[in-house]
Symmetry: C2
Subunit: 306 residues, 2 copies
Amino acid sequence: MSLLVIGSLALDTIETPFGKAERTLGGSATFISTAASYFTDSVRLVGIVGYDFPESEIEFLKSKKIDISGLEISESKKTFHWHGKYDFDLNTRESLVTELNAFETFDPVISEKFRNSDYVCLGNLHPLIQQKVVKQINNPKLIMCDTMNFWIEGAYDNLLEVLKLVKLLVINDSEARELSKEFNLVAAAKKIMSMGPEIVIVKKGEHGALLITKDIIFSAPAFPLEKVFDPTGAGDTFAGGMMGWLAKTDDISEKNLKLAVIYGSAMASLAVEKFSLDGIRDLSQEKIMKRFIEFKKLTHFEEVNM
Amino acid sequence: MSLLVIGSLALDTIETPFGKAERTLGGSATFISTAASYFTDSVRLVGIVGYDFPESEIEFLKSKKIDISGLEISESKKTFHWHGKYDFDLNTRESLVTELNAFETFDPVISEKFRNSDYVCLGNLHPLIQQKVVKQINNPKLIMCDTMNFWIEGAYDNLLEVLKLVKLLVINDSEARELSKEFNLVAAAKKIMSMGPEIVIVKKGEHGALLITKDIIFSAPAFPLEKVFDPTGAGDTFAGGMMGWLAKTDDISEKNLKLAVIYGSAMASLAVEKFSLDGIRDLSQEKIMKRFIEFKKLTHFEEVNM
């Protein structure tokens, strides 16, 4: 099944306690589509970059069989540039520079071909842009949406409109609390479900993720890595792996949603082991499958009566 | 197999956003032995209370078939009294009053019968007292020990001596970080294993627990409750359920340690649904088993290849 990904492409400068990468490939759409590309050859990317975007990275996206016919290249502006610095514990980060550049005027027009996509990932964008994209798609099977505190605080009413249009919201724990005004994450997810999405996935960073529908709660741990190198893009990689699995299997049953969450978690755990996109640039199916099995060992136990 | 429990018995005054309980039964040994009593009839309690300790609570402990021949009742002092108040999110708490009373001079002498216990739980006590207890026990199969930041900061060298004597340390995440001086919890657990314990269990509160040995890592979630009423005693209830299961099955294989962690987590999740000890005062095996199965549904997924 085809998977449409809309979001940012960026050149990131990242500082962690373990090193620094300058103007390295980043952005939500980059992480989502790269992660998804390991599951399906039908990833379609819509985004914008500037005239300074390296040709080698265009080639990289093509090498992942990602359809980049929806990638606009601005001739007058540079690529979105974000410079972030992580604290020693990697849990807090400071944005030192945010230059939107070409991304500032991003106004995605979805091509005729892309309008018939089955699965859709709305990366973290202004809710008005997310809405505009949704209205261009014909009958998708599943729309997933991400958001962030910036939109919850600055475009709350627009975000509520988007939530009515999407089946699956992926959101981090603090944002789920902020959006719902509930501290307890189960209560928060239920409140968010009353706003529209039938499925809510709460990302808890190093504590894993919760999948919540009206019938089930499923808890996936984060992979207990001894060394996390760079958490940039982990949430988008999670979403990409998850949506890639759903598009590949074309099955949104609760049983398969659990698998999607585990594949997403596996991809995210591989991403944070290296800087920026490096952890998922060149993976084998064997390596992903090995991590999947490690998740099983990490969580499964026998059923034994008292 | 017999299970010896040494720790505090207290009368707690607890304030949460949902209510207040005054001078209600608490203390580490109370929670540990009550939780363990659902798994084995061979729980042996060593502790001290004051002349004000209610006769009805003595009867309660007896009703759980807990051997209280090691419970000292001071004729001159009152029972340990702790008064704590939880913040609205239940994650932080303030100790308003700590009156050690009879507990201040607690100097456990283990009876001849109790010295032959197979499994031993050292509740959170001064490491010198923990050491003194260990030296009185003949050839136990497994000693579990708990501790807290107060001893890590105030009796570090004594604590290091205890760690050399115990096979299993149960510790919360912030204390594991403080003890090991490692932020990453896997790295922290490995460092702690180099100090003595072969098995480290890191309690992460609402994020569950990690079981770490030289060969495996196992991650158990906390049960995603929509309403947590009172977290007091959750960690001790976890330890009691876990050690009760190990004593019942007399099996410390890694496979069975995983089950022990799940039974401990199930007991802790039942405990926090009510005030103080109320959540585990009167449970049926059916209710515990039902929660165990819910943990399986919460975490298990099929193995499906990419």
